[in-house]
Amino acid sequence: MPDETKSPPPPPTGEPKGPAGAPNAPSVEPVPAKKPGDPAATTDPAAPAAPPKPAPPTAAKPAEPAGGHTPAPPAKPAGPAAVAWDSEMVCKLKGQYGSGIGEASTYLGQNYMVVDSSLIPEILHVLRDQEEFDYCVDITALHYPQREKQFDVIWILYSFARNQRIRVKTLIADGEIVPSAVKIWPTANWLEREVYDMFGIRFDGHPDLKRILLPDGWKGHPLRKDYGIIQQDNEWVQINLGIESGQ
């Protein structure tokens, strides 16, 4: 049913976003303080790119700097900075997976780590079974059209035992398939469907990956940045609602 929805990423048609130059420039800004025991961290090609033109403070224009996910705004003196997330768990994971674990930082007291997408199911399993992150709060995604790996997929996990919340991220390109977490947390079922619905990210191993909020035949994935705010699937509207346009 949802086959036709997986279209190649259309060229950005909405408002032009971000500075045109070097959208996918590799990281030049050293990501804050990596664990010394993690030699490969900075060489990870999937490593989170710091903003190539680090968020200009004058960013009153609607443009978003590409790769804005990295919480390292050096130009913002008053703003809190992301610091390395020091914990036993991270050490252990890094020791175990090496370069698979990218950045692990704390921003505003909230921890997150970036994981290579190939490691996702394993890491999530480990996090659930060994580190007691037994509650998957949310699964969501971010879209950075300028980046080569366009999407961040984010798992927000919570541990009842530690009363701690972490975020696990992975970076994927458009069309790349992420392993599903349904086997790990059943709650991922609808959350992944929503991510698929909104971003077009497919999850491998999902039992019933189809649209959840939008109607089945809808074309396009609204939360992609290139999907305009008033854009709609006119064809669908005409066929199913019998009106010219929904606007």
Partner: protein, 384 residues
């Protein structure tokens, strides 16, 4: 929408034995316009006689693209939109959003604002639970509690109206605190309301708690063990009714909650009856919090120093509060501009609704109604 049979082919069926005439498995389409689906929820039921073999929820009829809208509004402009998600607990939505943005801005609301926020949010929790009780009881066939709860909820809405001019979608809070100072006589109104409503909650309980039919209809219906709850990500009263003593107000306190004493009511069996009891207890605890809060609202400003143009630094934040329905989280990503790069809402109703399948499989049609009621979903929040 695809027709019912087509959708049902996707139902994953654990139970393959067919006890009735093989060819006559009944597929019933409940909703989207059905008196007991609390909005435009469509549940496709595969029935064996009265026994539910499988369900599939079709949602999205109320999808308004709130998250997309957020990306095209400034932080302050988006604030009223969150009220439209869980419209029976608009104040809680606003609180979560404002606190998330405040965290992103790395500032804190002044204590007075926090106290006002707690009072209004707890009042709103009461209102939400009252509405839940009325409709839930109505679904199970007791029509009278609905009118009682609506009568009393009206008093809460009156306080909201006096405070901010709106009854339902209040937009009560602003990023950085509250816009409105409490009106003259706010404390008295709230105290009067507390006095008025305490016996009323007993009145509801009198009608239902020991009512044999009520107990029979809700005991051992829609069971959800603590393990299942956590696996399914179910939060709020539903989780607590399964015996997990977890409440974000205690676990990760926010606003002024650390200042107050209150209990986290829990159940043991995780059935519909326990969820009912937990929510009734929660209403009492809310009253307790309000009582403590209203007596000692500190003096001071109600608004923190917030820049005229809200422009959080680049970064991302996840902040969640204990909404009446469960954990309501906001994941906000800022790119340093005036508009959020992305706002993700973690809606408790959406995640809780997912548990429906597990809760009703193997039970009877009538239980589906009871379970939908007990999950306390608001479709505005499910669909966003």
């Amino acid at each position: 929408m695809a027709d019912a049979t087509k959708n049902v082919s996707h139902l994953e069926l654990g139970d393959t034995d067919k006890t009735f005439l093989d060819s006559n498995e009944l597929i019933i389409n409940m909703g989207p316009q059905h008196p007991a689906t609390h909005g435009v929820l469509r549940v496709i039921l595969r029935l064996d006689g009265e026994k539910v073999l499988g369900t599939e929820c079709v949602i999205g009829y109320l999808h308004r693209g709130v998250e997309k809208i957020a990306e095209n509004r400034t932080y302050a402009m988006f604030n009223p939109y969150v009220d439209r998600m869980d419209y029976v607990a608009a104040v809680s939505n606003g609180l979560g959003y404002c606190e998330a943005v405040e965290k992103l801005l790395n500032l804190e609301a002044p204590p007075r604002a926090n106290y006002i926020r707690v009072i209004l949010t707890e009042l709103n929790r009461l209102a939400s639970h009252m509405l839940w009780l009325g409709t839930h009881a109505l679904d199970i066939g007791a029509i009278t509690p609905l009118f009682y709860t609506f009568r009393d909820r009206e008093e809460i809405l009156k306080i909201f109206e006096k405070y901010c001019g709106a009854r339902l979608t209040t937009h009560a809070f602003r990023i950085g605190g509250c816009l409105y100072e409490t009106y003259e006589g706010f404390e008295q109104d709230v105290t009067k309301f507390l006095k008025f409503v305490t016996p009323k909650i007993d009145e509801y309980e009198e009608l239902l708690t020991t009512n044999r039919i009520w107990v029979e209809r809700t005991r051992n219906v829609g069971m959800l063990s603590a393990k299942d709850c956590i696996a399914l990500g179910v939060t709020g009263p539903v989780l607590r009714a399964s015996g997990v003593k977890w409440d974000l107000r205690k676990a990760q306190p926010y606003a002024a909650y650390p200042d107050f004493e209150f209990e986290i009511p829990t159940g043991q069996n995780g059935d519909t009856y326990d969820r009912y009891l937990v929510r009734m207890q929660e209403m009492r605890q809310s009253l307790r919090i309000i009582e403590q809060a209203v007596g000692k609202i500190p003096e001071g400003p109600i608004m923190a120093k917030v820049p005229k143009v809200i422009k959080p630094p680049v970064g991302e934040i996840y902040h969640s509060i204990e909404a009446p329905k469960g954990e309501l989280g906001y994941f906000i990503v800022s790119d340093g501009s005036t508009q959020p790069y992305r706002v993700r809402v973690r809606p408790p109703s959406f995640v809780n609704l997912q548990a429906l399948e597990q809760m009703v499989r193997g039970q009877l049609v009538a239980d589906v109604i009871a379970v939908i009621g007990t999950l306390d979903i608001v479709l505005g929040e499910v669909d966003r």
